[in-house]
Symmetry: D2
Subunit: 261 residues, 4 copies
Amino acid sequence: MSNQKIIEGDYILLYLSQRKTYLVKVEAGKSFHTHKGFIKFDDLIGKDYGSCIPSSLGVEFIALKPLLRDYVMKSVRKTQITYPKDIALIVMFSGIGPGSRVVEAGTGTGALTTALAHYVKPDGRVYSYEIREEFLKTAEKNLKRAGLIDFVELKTKDVTAGIDESDVDAVILDLATPWLVVSHAYNALKHCRTIVSFSPTIDQVVKTVEALMENGFVDMETVECLMRGMQIERGKTRPQTLMTAHTGYVTFARKAMGHTM
Amino acid sequence: MSNQKIIEGDYILLYLSQRKTYLVKVEAGKSFHTHKGFIKFDDLIGKDYGSCIPSSLGVEFIALKPLLRDYVMKSVRKTQITYPKDIALIVMFSGIGPGSRVVEAGTGTGALTTALAHYVKPDGRVYSYEIREEFLKTAEKNLKRAGLIDFVELKTKDVTAGIDESDVDAVILDLATPWLVVSHAYNALKHCRTIVSFSPTIDQVVKTVEALMENGFVDMETVECLMRGMQIERGKTRPQTLMTAHTGYVTFARKAMGHTM
Amino acid sequence: MSNQKIIEGDYILLYLSQRKTYLVKVEAGKSFHTHKGFIKFDDLIGKDYGSCIPSSLGVEFIALKPLLRDYVMKSVRKTQITYPKDIALIVMFSGIGPGSRVVEAGTGTGALTTALAHYVKPDGRVYSYEIREEFLKTAEKNLKRAGLIDFVELKTKDVTAGIDESDVDAVILDLATPWLVVSHAYNALKHCRTIVSFSPTIDQVVKTVEALMENGFVDMETVECLMRGMQIERGKTRPQTLMTAHTGYVTFARKAMGHTM
Amino acid sequence: MSNQKIIEGDYILLYLSQRKTYLVKVEAGKSFHTHKGFIKFDDLIGKDYGSCIPSSLGVEFIALKPLLRDYVMKSVRKTQITYPKDIALIVMFSGIGPGSRVVEAGTGTGALTTALAHYVKPDGRVYSYEIREEFLKTAEKNLKRAGLIDFVELKTKDVTAGIDESDVDAVILDLATPWLVVSHAYNALKHCRTIVSFSPTIDQVVKTVEALMENGFVDMETVECLMRGMQIERGKTRPQTLMTAHTGYVTFARKAMGHTM
């Protein structure tokens, strides 16, 4: 994680502009093609991270070292989108950190899984449930690319049928019917630990909060987070013209005692 | 971190309602007084975390295990407030994780420091600069309470005069004049690593972004994050009536090469 | 409406600061008392609108001529608050203007009624339904104060039992059960004219939209409007710290033909 | 304004869906072509407003009577966009109504002019300044289409050089350099009347507020308005995915006395 020279096999973030970046694997003898010309990987190998590299058309790219957010953004595909702003909030609300054991469902293409694994490594573990096998394959690829596959157990299982793990630190839900997992989550969690659920619709939230109240959770809180970009330029500063108006609601609760299933 | 029984010396979160919680230290022979009666700690010691405990007036409290967010919220005092939503975003944008070495300035009362320490432990380290000694004392107390002091080096130093560390993974700024720290941050950072700055006013952001452009940073992005609570109750669901309209703008950039100081 | 001198019987807006204003009636021989001293009305009579007037404690007030928004804000009492931002949107969406005939329910204390009357005068008319007589008295007082009572017919009637008027240009609803008024509104409206409903909860909106779909309305649209104040000062410009996070949702639709009751 | 039958020469709003509407003139013997087939106007003439009409491909359109908002939305072209939410707020803040005399600058393509004329008719008047002649032609066309040209005086003049009118009820600015018009506005306004300025950037707002303070205005207020659409459907209700994040800031002030130019 700390090498400062680009070596064969590294994933790099080729940066053209804030809007145009490419997450690519450095492969000797090969090139990467863009609408601004191609980049020969052999020209990159051995260079310092952060170097400028001209394309075949003379356009300058910068070879950046990918960060968590890049892996998250680039793993967003084919399924419901989870945004960095939501992932950040989910992680913070869940209370997890290095060493935590976390159950996640569903995996999707692994955007949230990637973030969870990043924060619980090296001693923690993410148990990620998904019933759609094609998603698990994509998630596995994305996790390998981010170097985080070792901290994740991908499970082809229906989480609404039960959670195998116990004494976990958090259960994190990003699926269509979170309320069906609430009682399983109660049993899987350590005392006082957290459930965090992400849902796009109001009705999902209402059903989930009702299930939480019925199943011994306390301190329920539901929020939505709006992130707006700013265009910063002296004399012309203003918020951006367009924004994502809605991704989903984040619901949080803690397991209290005294609830017998 | 994983004990499930309350023992003497633990910090617990006494929960009355979502709005009323108290972060207190369990001390044998002592009591904690609230407007709803007092709690004898001796009644708590040996109980499971998550247990209900009646006060002297018969009002039920729940003895919860504090999470990162609780430590963050309860360390917010005497100085500019940094909100969990902003801390979550700063952490995610910075790319830090277990093992990262991070420079922070200023420490304030340690709310953001607490979060940074939580995510970089056990092998990472936070170097936190603050010139106001009275804040450092509060920060130290808050970090000790959260069990995170071992991962932080508190420094009574003016960060605008320079950064002692080098090859760090992130520089995180929450101070009045972030633009004065940008060139020092460039020198302190590893290639491709990040600077993240939090500022309440537009003018601070403009000056900081200009300094970033002049000092070899790329991929600048400034956002603001609005978090709105929802009141969830079947038939009565609606957003909350009041919200925090503004805390500050989060500005992010990455160090590229080729900039000579 | 166009006098520029203050005369006995006028309502004036005494302005101390953007946060501190008083809507008062000018009465010869009397005074108005504030925490910053009192103002003798005799000192004001005959002065130009916009004049400065010192209080008995030497604090300067400005005698402003009230605008629609002042009457709206100052009539907000005892009941659900309708904000200028929402009133503005309701008026615009409704399509009403000078000469329009409008049904409103409920009247409440007349904040929205005041605005509707202002825009339909002098040839239009507002028919405003309210079942709570104590509100109608306050509304009448507020409308008189704003000089708009002549354009309003206040009706002590339950609008869910039916609308007396026909061929109206708009039906505007700010009551707990708007869905019960939708079929009456259809019958009362001219073709293609509008219904606009204001509701604080999601569930009210869902029921109302369902009623609109079942009752021959088209072009349904529901929005919420967030207004955030800015603190403008060179070098310190920033959004305000607190804001109203939610007042209600505005739902709009147009009557199409072919629906037989 | 009150005919209920479609006649030759009327402008109608052909409605296919909430997203697909067309503002067209009914011309005998002609047709209107869409991607869903064409509509013969002869089939519409004599029908009731609100009628369904099938296209040549059998797709049903509804012939709606255009409302103010439709004229506003459809006149938005070639220039800075002013949104209904902003127009609604500008109108409300300005305090204008039937009979008001209003100065506006710049005209642009007449979206805001259309709304102002709608609210001040039949006895009021809008004096609208614009230096770009090609815009004035479009504005004139848009105002004629909305039936509001008689209430507007379009002026090919640079408002920063002065305002011809005096004793006006409001000055409304939507141009690049509003601060250059502030002293002219002061002279043109009746006492206590309003200036309202709409600007997309922070810097424009700061300069304008400074000019207002220097020129005898009081009660300054700057706001921004965010409007978010909701998707209403039982069991699937949620905010829309995309929204306009920023159009501009609305700044309001009132003329006080005692300022001599």
